[in-house]
């Protein structure tokens, strides 16, 4: 992953990061790690999803790192609620195990990407810069699921959010294991355009899931 906007970031004030993680030891380590990255500062930590919902709107961070397993309210639910309040906020899900089911649910709920907890600090930095720069990381497995979910949703007239032909093309190539660069080459478009297509796909997922989220999370029975 490349980080094309580094000069701009350096010029700007540090990226404000909020960490949501329930285990105190892990939380401390993460904070140290984030703060050790140049241009990033962990301005707040939350020990639970409820905490995060209360604190984050007032802090208004650039990126939220969200643990997926939290006591009581899960990271996925918290993501959905946060995205309802602050649609512009960038949320990265942290997961210990790569579980596509969970990752896909998180992405549907409004997360902008996900990271394995065992990721290297360099990758963490790259991922945060990527979402801030308007990119959207997506693996081939997730891409396949996204295509499936949109096709399934197309059968339900209520949620009428469709992928454009080009977006579906991108997803299908992605699901076949092509990299963003290869896709750009194949479709004769720029690599950034591929990224923005992915971003749009996420947004469409969020739009669709928002209606569901209102029903699922706001009635308070989730």
């Amino acid at each position: 992953m490349k980080s094309p906007v580094i000069p701009a970031i350096v010029a700007r004030p540090a990226v404000k990061v909020v960490l949501v993680e329930d285990k105190p030891g892990v939380r401390e380590s993460w904070v140290k790690l984030i703060n050790s990255l140049p241009g990033f500062s962990c301005v707040q930590t939350c020990a639970s999803g409820e905490d995060a919902l209360r604190v984050i709107p007032s802090v208004n961070p650039d990126v939220v790192l969200m643990d997926i397993f939290l006591p009581r309210m899960s990271g996925i639910e918290c993501t959905a609620r946060l995205k309802l309040q602050l649609p512009k906020i960038q949320i990265l899900i942290l997961t210990a195990v790569e579980d596509d089911e969970l990752v896909f649910m998180a992405l549907e709920a409004g997360a902008d990407g996900y990271l394995l907890k065992r990721t290297t600090p360099e990758d963490l930095k790259a991922a945060m810069l990527d979402v801030l720069g308007g990119g959207a990381p997506m693996t081939s497995e997730i891409a396949r699921r996204v295509v499936e979910s949109f096709r399934r949703a197309a059968k339900q007239p209520k949620l009428d959010v469709r992928l454009s032909a080009r977006e579906e093309e991108v997803l299908i190539l992605l699901s076949k294991g092509y990299s963003n660069k290869e896709i750009a080459h194949q479709l004769a478009i720029g690599a950034e355009t591929v990224g923005s297509h992915l971003k749009h796909i996420y947004e469409k997922m969020h739009v669709r899931s928002r209606a569901e989220a209102v029903a699922r999370y706001m009635t308070g029975k989730a």
């Binding site: 285990k23 030891g25 892990v26 380590s29 993460w30 140290k32 790690l33 050790s36 997926i68 397993f69 939290l70 006591p71 009581r72 899960s74 996925i76 210990a96 195990v97 790569e98 579980d99 596509d100 089911e101 969970l102 896909f104 649910m105 907890k117 065992r118 290297t120 600090p121 693996t139 081939s140 497995e141 396949r144 295509v147 499936e148 699901s175 076949k176 294991g177 092509y178 290869e182």
Partner: protein
């Protein structure tokens, strides 16, 4: 002669309409089955019959002494010569006051109206050989008597007659089955009282009742006692065996379920405890590494620790995947293999292309099958990475007629399968693994033409499918899991 009192019979039932009662009474009187009486329309041939009866019937015979409420058992044996074909055998009998008639130990008729003679057609019961006629007579009061006549006509028009006379015997045997065990020992001759119409039966019998022709009761083999007993035993055995099987089955189902739950628990434990600890260690290592000055030797060691921990976490993921019973589905397998291939090949020059059937089902895919198939695919990927010199590799996964096919195809230099000697352990390994799970492994390649490996395994069809559908609904599976882990 008095018919049963229908009024008495019906009085118990609260009949309201008198007319209804009358109709039933009339019906009852008119339809006395099979009886012809001298004073009824059917009995006009009374005179003829009485004239013949004297010829047909023998004499009144009885036990030496007659007394009230007396039961007398009389019998007589006769022989139908071998080869004789009986064309007609008619028997007439009555006993004052009633009788039960046996032929060869089997009851063939009863009579209680002694003033009427019963006519039996026993043509079909008389085959060649010895036969025993036995009569259990009952005398209510005063004199008792049996009068009997049997005419046997054979195919050569010879007529044999057996009548009640002094040749009959009285046996002292008692018991329900006496007629079947008659013995000459202990029997004494019956006493002849007198011919028909002698005192005290001057005017009787005056009627005739025909019994429909008797035919031998066919005893099919399945009606025999031992057959029925055997059948009963077999049925009981089958029931016992089935219930035993059911018990075994339910025990097995329970064990299987327990195993699944345990596997899920172990997976969760590894994931929750080991995984969390490992992540924490890894983070600590990263932080510690960053706190060291750039050029210190400790920094390099921390880097190594972190790399080791990452590899450990990766290995742990694989174990968790294999152990977790929630991953026993075709869909999970597909996901996992694709991810593995991509990660594995990203470190090589091979570009990994995926061609995977969309909407893979949540069909059961048991641990041994998915594990062996995964290891075989891993071997194939390894071979391709090591030997093929290809730059592109296709991993295709799809279902075809209840079988799952995984195809690994590269565009490398290929090899000559006939030349592939014992050195290529990988190929034997793959074949062995597939044999273990009832699958097949086909390798086709030619020098310069790439290599194609096709793994095919049977998919479980419906077994436990319905059972799992409730729990592994593909929409909700993940959600259930989250809530479980959370709680």
């Amino acid at each position: 002669m008095t018919p049963p009192q229908p009024k008495l019979f019906f009085s118990g039932l609260a009949w309201r309409g008198g007319s209804c009662l009358t109709v039933l009474l009339v019906l009852f009187l008119f339809f006395q089955p099979g009886k012809i009486h001298a004073d009824e329309p059917g009995g006009t041939n009374l005179v003829d019959w009485v004239a013949q009866a004297t010829n047909h019937l023998g004499q009144w015979i009885w036990e030496t002494n007659a007394f009230d409420k007396q039961t007398v058992r009389l019998w007589r044996a006769f022989e139908i010569p071998a080869g004789a074909k009986v064309t007609n055998a008619t028997m007439h009998i009555t006993v004052d006051n009633g009788y039960t008639l046996f032929l060869d130990g089997k009851e063939i008729g009863r009579g209680s109206d002694w003033r009427t003679v019963s006519e039996y057609d026993i043509t079909q019961l008389l085959g060649p050989g010895r036969h025993v006629l036995a009569v259990e007579g009952f005398n209510d009061r005063l004199e008792g008597g049996l009068i009997f006549g049997l005419q046997v006509q054979s195919a050569n028009r010879a007529v044999a007659e057996i009548k009640s006379d002094g040749s009959w015997w009285v046996t002292p045997q008692t018991g329900r089955t006496w007629a079947a065990k008659i013995q000459a020992n202990g029997s004494h001759p019956a006493k002849v009282i007198g011919p028909m119409h002698s005192h005290p039966w001057e005017v009787w019998p005056y009627g005739l009742a025909r019994v429909p022709p008797l035919s031998p009761v066919m005893v099919h083999f399945w009606q025999r006692g031992w057959v029925q007993l055997t059948l009963l035993l077999i049925c009981t055995g089958a029931v016992v065996f089935c219930s035993w099987l059911l018990t075994q089955l339910s025990a097995q189902v329970k064990a299987q379920k327990f195993l699944q739950v345990e596997r899920a628990r172990i997976a969760r434990d590894i994931h929750d405890d080991l995984g969390a600890q490992l992540t924490q260690l890894l983070l600590l290592g990263e932080v510690a590494q960053r706190e060291q000055p750039e050029d210190s030797p400790a920094r390099g060691q921390f880097t190594q620790i972190c790399a080791g921990a990452r590899e450990l976490a990766q290995a742990m993921d694989e174990v968790v995947w294999a152990v977790n019973s929630r991953r026993d589905t075709v869909r999970d397998f597909t996901t996992y293999v694709c991810k593995y291939a991509q990660i594995f090949l990203s470190a090589t020059n091979l570009r990994c292309r995926l061609d995977v059937e969309s909407e893979m089902p949540v069909t059961t895919f048991d641990l041994p099958v998915r594990r062996n198939l995964f290891l075989a695919v891993k071997e194939a990927l390894n071979n391709a990475a090591k030997h093929s010199q290809a730059d592109e590799l296709y991993l295709r996964i799809f279902r075809r007629e209840r079988r799952l096919s995984v195809i690994v195809e590269d565009n490398g230099r290929g090899f000559d399968p006939t030349q592939a000697g014992a050195g290529r352990n990988g190929l034997t390994n793959m074949t062995q693994r597939m044999d273990e799970i009832g699958g097949t492994c086909e390798v086709s390649s030619q020098p310069g033409g790439g290599c194609l490996v096709i793994f095919t395994v049977p998919l479980a069809t419906g077994r436990r499918g319905w059972f799992r559908r409730a729990t592994a609904n593909d929409e909700n599976a993940g959600r259930i899991e989250t809530s479980e882990i959370r709680s």
